[in-house]
Every structure is written in structure tokens, then in C-alpha cells.
């Protein structure tokens, strides 16, 4: 079974001649269809891990095997193509292009693929976008500007955008960080549903409730993964309090 394998990943920043080792020999594996959360204190390297694994930032050392493809040594163009067709991103700050409508933002990555450049391909993209928007409940705001919708709707639009090219994995950086409680629940419901459909998800979060919805949780500290815990696949009608308590006990033990 294909998986995302990370071996001895290091990331070092040099700021004003001072070396800052943010990631130190991190190794992990995310299997296809798995939903994994990364938790840890501020400055522990969670976000850097997410961006380095996804090729958004260059690694200083180490290897990333992306579902059978070795990412180390790929050119910037090859990594871009991989990001376009095989990865999806959901950011805390959404990062939508402000002079495009919600709908245009969603379909834009699909139009850049080789299949999305033909008339037939574009028709398929449009159809897929409509289905996705319907699934995520944002069809009615499709033609709105991005500043005319709520944070939750915007984040769901972001999820739509990340799914439009049917990626193997979604990388999510604090996907509910900018949302209220209700919107957070809605967004996490969508992410869980996507995961149940077979898409892997690696997310970074501070929120225990978000992490409790994941199959596995990694705890990172000082740039290295200290421990991990397997909570099992999330079920829709499962009692979340049990998962949250288990996670909480584990985190308390780690000094959270």
C-alpha cells in the first residue's frame, strides 16, 4: 500500500548568522486514507513539518517519499505539478485570490491541469466543482466575492479548492484556527467525510477537539516527534467525549 514516508527530515533556518534547527531528523509515515494530526507547543516545528513535507518549503536534509515518488531532487516545476495534481492545501487564513469569485477560486487549479485546458475537460471541472460545492453546502455563494461570505463558508470553499483535482492527500494548517465553534464543527465534518472517501489528511492543530477527530495524533517537540497515539477511524455517530478524554490524558502525560 502506498504511503507518504518521511525519513530523517531536517530543516534549519539561519537568521542573522544564528542557526535554528527547527526539524531534527523527523521520520513518519502516513498511509493512504489515514487522517493524522500533528500537535505540539508553539515553535515546536508543526507548521514547518507540514510545509516541508508538502514541498512548500525546501528541506535542509532528509527524504520524502510521496506515495511512491521520491520528492528529494525534483525540480521546482515537478514539485509544482505534484502540488497541483496530487496535493490539496487548506490554510488557517484561507488564502483565496481576492479578485476572483468563490467559484473561480475553486476551479482555478483544475483549469491549470492538462485535462482542464480543453473544453471537455473544463466542462468536467465545472461539473465536479458544482458537486463539491453542493456537498460542502456553499452552492448559493458560488458567485460571491470572497469578502461577501462567512469565515466558515470561505474555509469550506478552500476545502473545495483543495479537492478539485482529487488529490491523494490534503495538508491542512490549523484549518479551524480562524473559525468559531459552529463553523469549526462543520469544517471538520467535511474533512472527516473526505477522509472516509479515501483521501489522506495531514493536519496541524492546537485544538484537541480537532485532533480527536483524527485517526492518529503525533506529538512534536523541539523539532522531533516525541510520541504518537492511535485513536482509530472517526465514526459519525461515535461518542467524541471518549476520544477526547483519551487524547487529553495522553497529552497531559506529555506535559501539554
Amino acid at each position: 500500500m502506498e504511503s507518504l514516508k518521511v525519513s530523517n527530515l531536517c530543516k534549519t533556518y539561519i537568521i542573522e548568522k544564528r542557526q535554528n534547527n527547527v526539524l531534527r531528523n523527523v521520520s513518519l509515515e502516513i498511509k493512504q486514507g489515514e487522517m493524522v494530526a500533528v500537535m505540539g507547543p508553539s515553535g515546536s516545528g508543526k507548521t514547518t513539518l507540514l510545509y516541508t513535507v508538502s514541498g512548500m518549503d525546501d528541506a535542509t536534509a532528509g527524504k520524502v517519499d510521496f506515495f511512491g515518488k521520491e520528492m528529494t531532487g525534483l525540480t521546482a516545476n515537478e514539485i509544482s505539478d505534484m502540488r497541483l495534481e496530487e496535493m490539496g492545501f487548506v490554510f488557517q487564513q484561507m488564502y483565496m485570490l481576492k479578485n476572483l469569485s468563490i467559484y473561480d477560486n475553486i476551479i482555478m487549479p483544475a483549469y491549470q491541469t492538462s485535462g482542464g485546458k480543453t473544453k471537455k475537460g473544463r466542462a468536467a471541472v465545472n461539473e465536479r466543482a458544482k458537486i463539491l460545492m453542493q456537498k460542502l453546502g456553499i452552492s448559493e455563494v458560488a458567485d460571491n466575492d470572497i469578502n461577501e461570505v462567512s469565515g466558515g463558508q470561505l474555509q469550506r470553499a478552500c476545502i473545495c479548492r483543495s479537492l478539485i483535482n482529487e488529490p491523494k492527500i490534503i495538508f491542512a494548517d490549523e484549518p479551524t484556527g480562524a473559525l468559531n465553534k459552529q463553523n469549526s464543527i462543520e469544517v471538520m465534518d467535511e474533512l472527516n467525510r473526505i477522509n472516509l472517501d479515501g483521501t489522506s489528511i495531514l493536519l496541524v492543530t492546537h485544538d484537541m477537539k480537532v485532533a480527536a477527530r483524527c485517526e492518529r495524533v503525533l506529538y512534536i517537540e523541539d523539532g522531533d516527534i516525541r510520541e504518537d497515539i492511535t485513536l482509530g477511524k472517526w465514526q459519525k455517530d461515535q461518542d467524541m467525549r471518549v476520544r477526547e478524554r483519551t487524547l487529553n490524558d495522553w497529552l497531559v502525560k506529555l506535559g501539554w
Binding site: S80, R83, K98, N99, Q112
Partner: protein, 737 residues
Amino acid sequence: MWKDYSSGYIKNNRSSGIAVMIAAFISALLLSLLCGLFYNAWKYEVERIQLEEGGWQSRIAGDIDPGDIEAIKNFARVKDAVVNEKAAQGHETVLDLYFDDMDAVLEDTPRIAEIAGISPETAIYNYELLAMYLIRSPQDTAPRLLFPMFLIIMGMASLSLIVIIHNSFAVSMNARIHQFGIFSSIGATPKQIRVCLLQEAAALCAIPVIAGNLLGIGISMVLIQMVNTLLGSSVSGRHQAVFGYHPLVLVLTLLVTVFTIWISAWLPARKLSRLTPLEAIKNTGELMLKRKKKSPVLTFIFGMEGELAGNALKAQRKALRTASLSLIFSFMAFTLMQCFFTLSGISTRETYFEKYQDVWDIMVTVKDTEADSFAETKEIQTLPGVRSAIVYQKAAAETIITEEEISDEMKSFGGFSHASGNDAVQTEAGWSVNAPIMILDDASFQDYCEEIGITPRLDGAVIRNQIRDVTNPDFRHPRYMPYVKGSNTVSILRKSGEEGTGVEIPVLSYTEHVPALREEYATVDYYELVHFIPMSLWKEIKGQIADAGEDSYICVLGNENADLEELNTLQAEINRIVAGAYVTESENRILKKESNDRQVQGMMAIFGGFCVLLAIIGTGSVFSNTLGFVRQRKREFARYMSVGLTPEEIRKMFCIEALVIAGRPIIITIPLAVITVGYLLKASYLEVEIFLAEAPFVPIAVFMLGIVGTVALAYYLGWRNVRKINLAEALRDDTMM
């Protein structure tokens, strides 16, 4: 990507593209102007060569049979073969060859020479003309610099423009770095981002490039007409330049412009596309307000607002670099140019026009003519409206001055001890010095004798007995003293550089008073002993003692206070008398002064135009900065207001920023101008009062006010956009969008 994103962005964000459009327009204008002027310079040179040398491309000479001439005319690629009777010497036939294809000249001429039975080596080529069409023969060793000069200047202009305008593109592109980070995060490749940025640059620059090119052609046309007006009548032998423009020049100009703009856009686009998505996405395009260094002067003068303004200016340093440099250079260049031309004008007036005002009105140079063979002297001297007319010629000779002859005053500053080896050579007999001879027509010499109070005679010389205190370098206020004691009754002159006895001529007088000629004495060689002799004496001694100059001169003084019209009439009369028999060049004092003034004004207009152009680049950049960063500045001000700053205090901060941008060129330039002018005044020995009375305060003040006003307007418009702040909206994290 372009269709999906860029077109919409350009439509909705026109103001942010203004800087780029201005930069493209100015580049196109300058390059088009340069190309237009160079093409016309080239065209003028071709016309000049054809007028002076003829339009023939090669020439063969010898005994050419008429039958052969017909055969040559029918030679492939030969356009025409014309017998040149003017150039023919003796019985030789000179045949000028014209080719359809100029490239064939070097190849076909030797063959044609062989047909005519002439040695191919004797063929002559019009190298000057051929070089204008980039046809160079290895035999032509002369440097033909027009094309290399054109290429160097175009290259330098293009490079300078890239340095200046790439910053405009960088500022415009960097403002959107965050958006390209988003692009990159969803899979856009660096190449796609680069192409997108370049497509946007192309869309923004298309109209400015066309407009700039057209205006450049128009300005070059006006400049050619200006050059005709300025030089048309005052440069002898100059033919009228006719403006022309070839479609290929337009193609070349467009290519150079597109290349310049493309490189300017490509440099920042490449840099931006090389950022990792994370680097790009984390950059919010916001002005990075970091407290790097304090601004003690601004803080001291304006308090807290001054410090905030200083901080904001430091944060915008890169964005404002083009503006600052352009404004500083434009104001500096304009001020120094004005001061320089004022100083130069005062100097020229004092040393030339005012000094010789009562010496000449019309000056005629009679080419290749000895004064003693000039027969029209009397006719000119008796023309109505002529106060005096001196016909004269110059000759070079040497004489010996013994130590005893040197005046006591000259001895007091060291005699010949300061003289260089070229000016005075010590010999056994004494000091050998140059003795220039001014040969005056007899009547004028007799008048001169009367002027200095001696009995007019035509058998001797009057010697200028004056020498400058060489220890005093102030050429504007020299101190003169007698050169020799003046007791000798004869002067021995001999040919320059030749040993020999020379010729003794009687000395009629030693004097400090010189005849009214437009001549300067002892300016280069301080030790020359000038002799004024009559034409009658010259006829006797000529050939024995001196080599006469090739040309003769007529120095005419018209009626007192004669106006231009009178002088024009007089000049025409004199030309009528001499034109038929001699080759002459004549000058008219008032016309020359007017022409000189026009040339200075023309040069000032051209230099001033470039200064204004630089100032436009600078102020354009200020406009684009104040109008293009509205969102970022709104957020910046919202932050200040959220911690208690009032709109009035923020307005003050805006005013301080404008004041610093507009004031910096002035603060830098004024001390520099004062130092430069002080140095030039010292070097030219001009009094400060004279300069101050004519100092270009008004144009400099107008230029300064122009800069200050435009910068103030840019900041006022920027302020109008920024002041309508909705605090909540402005403070909202715009990275969500």
C-alpha cells in the same frame, strides 16, 4: 492563468500599474528619441559626404576607352558609370562608379578595373560613404566612429533605463507577492508565474511603448528643426538637415524598447518566481515597518510624527529608490547646469563680446591669400558705414632678447626664470623668443602710428612692449609691466627654428597700445614679443625672416552703435566685393552673439529637457507609490489610530514624508552647488558679486517648486484615498484574501 486571473487583476487595479506604465513610456520615449536622432545624424552625414565628396562609391582612373565605359555601364550590379571631368588630371579619364547593390563595391570594382585595362590596386573607394552603410575594407584604417558610438550610447541608455525602471516593476510585482504565493501553493510552476508577470507587463506597457515611440519621433523632428535654426546661419558650409524616418528605424526602436522593458520586467519576475511558495505566501505585501534606526533629525524637528514618518520612509526605501534618485539627480543636474551656463555666459561675454565690442563688427577670413596680393583694401576702407577696416596677415618669427634689454620690472619677478623651454630658449647671444609679426595694410599702419603718437612711417616696426606678471595666475585681472627697456632702435628677426643672421628692421616705437584687431597676444606663450609692421616693409623682407600664415584677415569696425541691420548690410557689401575673387568666411559680431546665445539656450533646453524628464520619472514614481500602496498604508494608519493617533497627526506624518522626499534633493544639491560654483568662481577668477547679480535663482526656484508641488500633489491624492479609514475593515487580516 492569464485569462483566469491577470486580465481581471489589471482591470481592477489600474492605479498600481501606473508606475510601470510611466516607466515604459519614458523608456520608449528616450530610446525612440535617441534612435530618431541617430538616424537623422546618419542621414545628414550621408548627405554631407555626397555633397562634399560626391555620391560615387568607387572610382577608377586611367586611359579608358569609350567602348569600355559602355561595357562597364552594362556590368551586372553597376547602376551607373559617370566620367568625372572635374577630378580628371591630364589625359586620364576618371570614372565614378555607382552600384545597385553597395555590398558589391569591393568585389566588383577590381574586376571592372581589369575590364578597363587598369590595375585594380589603383581603384579608389569612397570609404567614408561606404562606412556609413557598414561596408568596411581592410585597406580603410580610419576610425569610423558613428556606428560604434551609436551602439555604445544605445547600450548605455538601455542599461541605464533597465537600472532605473526595473525597480518600478519590482515594486509593482512585490506588492502582489502574496497572491503569487497562493498561486504557487495551488500548483503554479515558477515558469507560469514568470510568464504571467511578463504577460501583465506586456499588457500594461503596450500602449505606453507606442505612445512613447511616437512622441520620441515627434521630439526628434522638433530637435532637428531646432538644430537647423540654431546652427543654420552660423556654421559655414553646413547644409540644412531635413528630418527623415525610415520604417526600419521604427522596427529597431521597438525592438530595443521591448528588449529594455522585457529585461526590466524579467529581472524582478525571475526573482519572484524563485521564491518558495511559503516565502511568497508569508509575505503579505505589507510595508515592513521595522524599527531599524531612529530618525533623530525628524524626531527632533517634528516630534513623534517625525519619527513615525522617518520609520515609514525607511520601510518604503526600496519602493522610493527610483523616486529619490531621479529627483536628486534631476535637481542636481538642473542646478549645476544653470550655474555652469551662467558662469560660462559671463565669462564669454567678458572675455569675448565685451572685450572686442569696440574692435570688430565684421570679420572676414580670406582663405589662401596673402595680404600683399589683396587688392580690395581701399574699396572696403572707403565703404559707407566703415569706421575702420584693417587688412592684415600673421607671420611667425623669432628674435633675441639680451639680459641687458630686459626691463627692471620683469627682472623683479625673475626675468625668464619662469619661462618654459618652448617659450624662451637661452642662447649665447641671449634669450631666443617668439616674435609674431602682424602685417597691417599701409594705411592702417599709418593710422596706428598716429594713434600711438609717432610719425607715420612704412619702413619699421612697432613693438608691443608688455608682459604679464607670470607669477599671478589670475588671467581675468592680469598685472602687466614693460617687457624690454625699449632702448634698441633696431630689431633683428629671423625664421623660426633656423640659425642665421636674420633681418634688421628699424623700431619705430615700443608701446603698450595695440591696433584694434580681434587678436589676443601672449595668452599661451607669455614671452612672445609682438611686432606690428606695414605691408610695404613686409614685401621687402618676406621670405627672409618669417613664414606667413595661409590666410589674410579683414577686421572691420562699423559706425558706433551700429545695429544688426546695418551690420548685415555692411557684411553683404564686403562679401560682394571679395566673394568673386576669393574664398572667404565672414562673421558678424551681433549675429555671432545672437547665434551664441541661441546655441546656449538650445543646449540649456536640451539638458533642461533631460532634467525635466528625470524629474518626471521621479515624481511619477512618487505618484505610483502614494496611489499604489493605499491598502497597505490604510492598515498602517489604522494600527496607529487604533492606539490613539488622530487623523490630524497622521496627516502631519504624511506631510513630513512629502517634505523629506521633496526636500532631500534640495538639501543635497544646494551645498554641492555652492561648493561647485565656489570652485568654478575661483578657477575662473570671477567676482562672487558678478555671479550673484546674474545667478539663476529664478529657474532653480521654479524647478524646485515644480518638484515640491508635484510631490505634495501626489501625497495629497494619496492622503485623500487613505484618510477614509474604516478601522475594523482596515485592521482585518487581509491575508485571508
